[in-house]
């Protein structure tokens, strides 16, 4: 998994690419969770356009990120998911937990 942080008007945009599996948990915690666990009024934007594959561990990490953001009173936007990632987000009904953007 590769993570790229891009500062924007609404806050830092986190672009995740590659595969989001258990092996990426340390990097996810170090970068993504750290960004989510910041005070702020704006939702955290996760750009998944470059993400090719995700398994249940990756989905579990996204759920933990959501919990951490909620503690800060923030939401998470998942943007640009495609292919297997988009389908698994649909099957998992993530649209009921996250804001999904094309």
């Amino acid at each position: 998994m590769q993570v790229k942080l891009t500062p924007g008007l609404g806050g830092v945009e986190v672009a995740v690419s590659g595969t989001l599996t258990f092996d990426a948990h340390a990097a996810f915690r170090q970068v993504v969770m750290a960004q989510v666990d910041q005070p702020g009024a704006q939702p955290v934007l996760l750009d998944l356009a470059g993400l090719d594959y995700i398994d249940s561990a990756g989905l579990g990490m996204l759920l933990l990120a959501r919990e951490a953001a909620e503690k800060r009173g923030r939401g998470i936007i998942l943007r640009g998911a495609r292919g297997q990632v988009a389908r698994i987000l649909t099957v998992s009904k993530f649209n009921q937990l996250f804001t999904i953007q094309p």
Partner: protein
């Protein structure tokens, strides 16, 4: 009196001869005698024709009545048959509708579930499984992150043990130097030597304890690593099977919806056809009701023929045949023409009975007399 006209066959005259006036008294006049003889012959012929006509009217009345009954019986049978046909068509439509409903549903215990509802139930079950998998994965990741934290703390503790061991080595060296200096001091340094030995023993104990701590920390680290691997296995589930199942369920649902639409169209067609058949049968049955009008018309015709027969009989009674003439005889030529006009064997047989014997025949006609159509 058209009937009389048709049944009169007297030498080309259009009307039967009127009843003769009172015959002149017999006389010796030969011309008058000839005229009287001719008049009596005409009267006798008129009686024979009248009897023939009377019997013919009776035969016509009987034939029409029989035909009327036959038509009534057949039409009644046809109406009943059409009613049964209508009932059968309706029952068949009902059975087909029930069959289509059965095809579209599934019995589960005392519940009847439609197939698309079943697919939705399966979708819900899949969603429940996915939800539990994700909850399990999330909890496993919580544990993994906790174990990571414990491992980090353990690493720092191991580092502390290293510090203790380094300090202990310095302490040991210090005790050794103290013992050397105590030996140089001689008797004055004996007390110092005792302290140096105690420090050395303390350092040895501390070193042993540090070694034990390092061993324990390593053991905890191995347990943590094992637990981490197990948590990784718990957290990691390939969701491809769920995606395949979801795709299959979507395809099933789509197929079921398509089939339901086809079945609905089929049922609509069946209903339309059934309605059309029922309407046609009802219209046909209504047309069969014409028998009521026909029956009345035929009864009227029978009444007219009976009136003609009675009028003929009355006329014959009013003007009896001349003395010496055989009463109740028919005109053979007229009878032959009537029977010749009957081109249907059984009708001819019955007319022959009436015309020749004055009553309907009691025996059935010979088979050779019946034409087959």
């Amino acid at each position: 009196m058209p009937g009389l006209m048709r049944l009169s066959f007297s030498s080309g005259r259009a009307t039967p001869p009127p009843p003769p006036a009172a015959l002149p008294p017999p006389g010796p006049d030969p011309e008058a005698e000839e005229a009287r003889r001719q008049a009596e012959a005409v009267l006798a012929r008129w009686h024979r024709l009248g009897e023939t006509q009377r019997r013919a009217f009776q035969a016509i009345c009987a034939e029409i009545a029989d035909t009327n009954h036959e038509v009534e019986d057949n039409v009644s049978g046809l109406i009943q048959a059409f009613q049964r046909l209508s009932d059968s068509a309706q029952a068949q439509t009902n059975r087909l509708e029930r069959t289509l409903r059965l095809v579209d549903t599934l019995e589960a215990g005392d519940q009847v579930i439609s197939l698309d509802e079943l697919v939705r139930l399966m979708e819900g079950a899949l969603g429940g499984v996915v939800e539990r998998v994700l909850d399990m994965s999330k909890q496993a990741m919580v544990m993994v992150y906790a174990l990571d934290d414990v491992a980090a703390h353990l690493g720092r503790a191991e580092h502390c043990v290293g510090d203790i061991e380094r300090i202990n080595r310095m302490t040991t060296m210090l005790a050794f130097n103290a013992r050397i200096e105590a030996a140089r001091a001689g008797a004055a340094g004996q007390g110092f030597a005792v302290v140096a030995n105690e420090v050395r023993d303390l350092a040895i104990s501390t070193g042993s304890m540090a070694e034990t701590m390092r061993t324990e920390i390593a053991a905890i680290g191995r347990v943590l690593e094992g637990s981490r691997h197990r948590m990784a296995e718990v957290a990691t589930v390939d969701m491809s099977a769920s995606l395949d199942t979801k795709a299959t369920l979507d395809a099933m649902l789509e197929g079921l919806q398509r089939r339901r639409a086809e079945v609905a169209a089929l049922m609509q067609d069946m209903t339309s056809s059934g309605t059309a058949i029922t309407d046609d049968i009802a219209a046909f049955a209504a047309r069969m009701q014409f028998t009521e009008g026909t029956r009345n018309r035929l009864r009227t015709v029978i009444a007219a023929a009976e009136a003609l027969s009675a009028a003929t009989a009355a006329a014959m009674a009013a003007h009896p045949p001349p003395p010496g003439t055989e009463a109740a005889r028919t005109d053979a030529d007229c009878v032959a023409r009537v029977l010749e006009a009957c081109n249907q064997g059984d009708v001819r047989h019955r007319f022959a009975g009436w015309l020749e014997h004055g009553a309907a025949p009691t025996a059935a006609p010979a088979s050779s007399d019946i034409e087959l159509f």
